[in-house]
């Protein structure tokens, strides 16, 4: 956050719809109950790496600062460890809110979302192919998508894991892969938000 950034937004630039955009997520309306106590930010093991901590994210959502939330680093720093939600005195399912914001940001191809997009896309592709996660294929594909120019830096890790017998070359395929693919396709259609 630079000093040049306005801390007050004009009414026309506010966007109060972010909550309703993710309103299908169970319990999302509880974001309105947030009392800004900061237990989430204090419990979060990675809030030090966020520009806006979880508490601030909730304040920003309610204040209509949609762009700042979706372009921020907070959602990509969240490791989904559930510590915040476990302690929230208002019982907000914070990890679910973060997931919903991540989905939004990925769909809108937002700032900072590239690595997470690469991981999710690679994962989905590998699982559609095999029905299981073929970790060797996942790592290779993720690196090529996320950072093709520094992918080789990970080679020693791959070589070590292979020597330890932990990176099999072949993947295991689910027997009823056709049935599974139909389930995935239908779920994709039904879960396509909004």
């Amino acid at each position: 956050v630079t000093s040049a950034e306005p801390t007050v937004l004009y009414e026309r630039s506010l966007d109060l719809d972010l909550l309703s955009e993710i309103s299908h997520v169970p319990g999302i309306e509880k974001v309105r109950d947030c009392i800004q106590c900061g237990t989430c930010s204090g419990s979060c093991p990675v809030s030090w790496a966020m520009e806006d901590t979880p508490r601030k994210v909730f304040a920003l959502i309610r204040a209509g600062m949609r762009e700042r939330v979706l372009d921020g680093t907070a959602i990509w720093t969240c490791a989904s460890c559930y510590q915040c939600g476990a302690r929230c005195p208002r019982k907000i399912k914070i990890t679910d809110v973060m997931y919903a914001l991540k989905r939004r940001a990925i769909r809108e191809n937002r700032k900072h979302s590239r690595a997470a997009q690469a991981l999710s896309r690679s994962f989905v592709r590998v699982v559609s192919k095999y029905g299981r996660n073929h970790e060797t294929a996942l790592m290779a594909e993720f690196l090529m998508r996320a950072r093709p120019f520094s992918a080789l830096r990970e080679l020693p890790v791959g070589v070590k894991l292979m020597a330890q017998g932990r990176l099999p070359l072949g993947g295991q395929r689910v027997r009823d892969i056709d049935g599974l693919r139909r389930i995935i396709a239908k779920a994709e259609e039904l879960g396509g938000e909004e």
Binding site: L119, R166, I183, I184, A187
Partner: protein, 288 residues
């Protein structure tokens, strides 16, 4: 006791040692593992970033396959465990999710009516096998070995092994039953960074460094884990933590099932003890 075993994808690859050690100790502790037929990936955290119904549907298929066995499910991977427990809970609590997941499953000719109980393998050992049974099997008690129990995050959170996740003691009790000493340290339920090691490496490295530092200050000879990703982050990337922080950590990171195998006098190779990055061979000397 017969259980439906859901190894999850990592246990056939990066966490092979976890699978090997679980299968090696299952017989002695009296567990019959019936692997769920044709199980699929749980979706990990990656699917939730794309589409939450896809994520729930993947796990619901596994629950449906498990239901056919009529057995309780045992999951050794903390991420799979959370997805199984969370999906079961959300399907029963939120009709909107249930109806979509039901439709998706139907497209693949699968139906799930709920009711499957999932336990983490650590829970199965402590709650179902029992620590008296564990003690009765000791051939080489791990006397003198100091172990830092690392629960990680997922199994002690809302969908986890106990109601209050703040101060779990289950893992410590198992370690003491093996004759070892469980050392107290601050990071035992703090996240290792999970998949951030791929997407935001610096953040994950700092979390791993904190885990290693606290374990070392507590005098730990090794860190014991309950999750494939924790093992990989803290062990495989330990060298990179050292590079980033100028430290010289060399702390073995083993699965609790490997510690059990050691204490039961099983062959080190049979429990995958040589598959780690930081050699765990020092642990062998004490046990024998």
């Amino acid at each position: 006791m017969k259980v439906a075993y859901y190894p999850g994808c990592s246990l056939h690859a990066t966490a092979r040692a976890y699978d090997e050690s679980i299968r090696a100790i299952a017989g002695p502790v009296g567990l019959e593992l019936e692997e769920i037929d044709d199980w699929n990936c749980c979706g990990a955290t990656a699917y939730m970033n794309v589409n939450e119904i896809m994520s729930f549907a993947l796990t619901a298929r596994n629950l449906a396959l498990a239901a056919k066995t009529g057995l309780p499910v045992v999951s050794p991977c903390s991420a799979c465990y959370t997805n199984l427990r969370k999906t079961e809970k959300y399907l029963s609590e939120f009709p909107s999710i249930k109806s979509k997941v039901d439709q998706a499953l139907a497209a693949g000719g699968v139906r799930y009516d709920g009711g499957v109980v999932t336990k983490h393998f650590l829970q199965t050992i402590v709650e179902d096998v029992g620590l008296d049974k564990v003690r009765s099997l000791l051939k080489h008690p791990l006397t003198g070995i100091k172990v830092a129990p690392y629960y990680g995050c997922q199994i002690v959170r809302p969908y986890g092994i106990q109601q209050n996740g703040e101060e779990p003691v289950m893992f410590e009790r198992l370690i003491e039953a093996l004759g070892a000493t469980a050392v107290p340290y601050a990071m035992k339920t703090v996240c290792c960074g999970g998949s951030l090691m791929g997407t935001r490496e610096k953040v994950a490295l700092r979390l791993c460094r904190n885990i290693l530092l606290c374990a070392q200050q507590a005098g730990a000879d090794c860190i014991a884990v309950t999750c494939p990703l924790c093992q990989m982050n803290v062990d495989t990337y330990q060298g990179r933590v050292n590079d980033a922080y100028g430290t010289s950590f060399r702390i073995p990171v083993v699965y609790f099932s490997q510690l059990m195998g050691l204490a039961f006098g099983l062959d080190a190779k049979a429990i995958g003890l040589y598959r780690g990055e930081v050699p765990a061979t020092a642990l062998l000397a004490t046990g024998t």
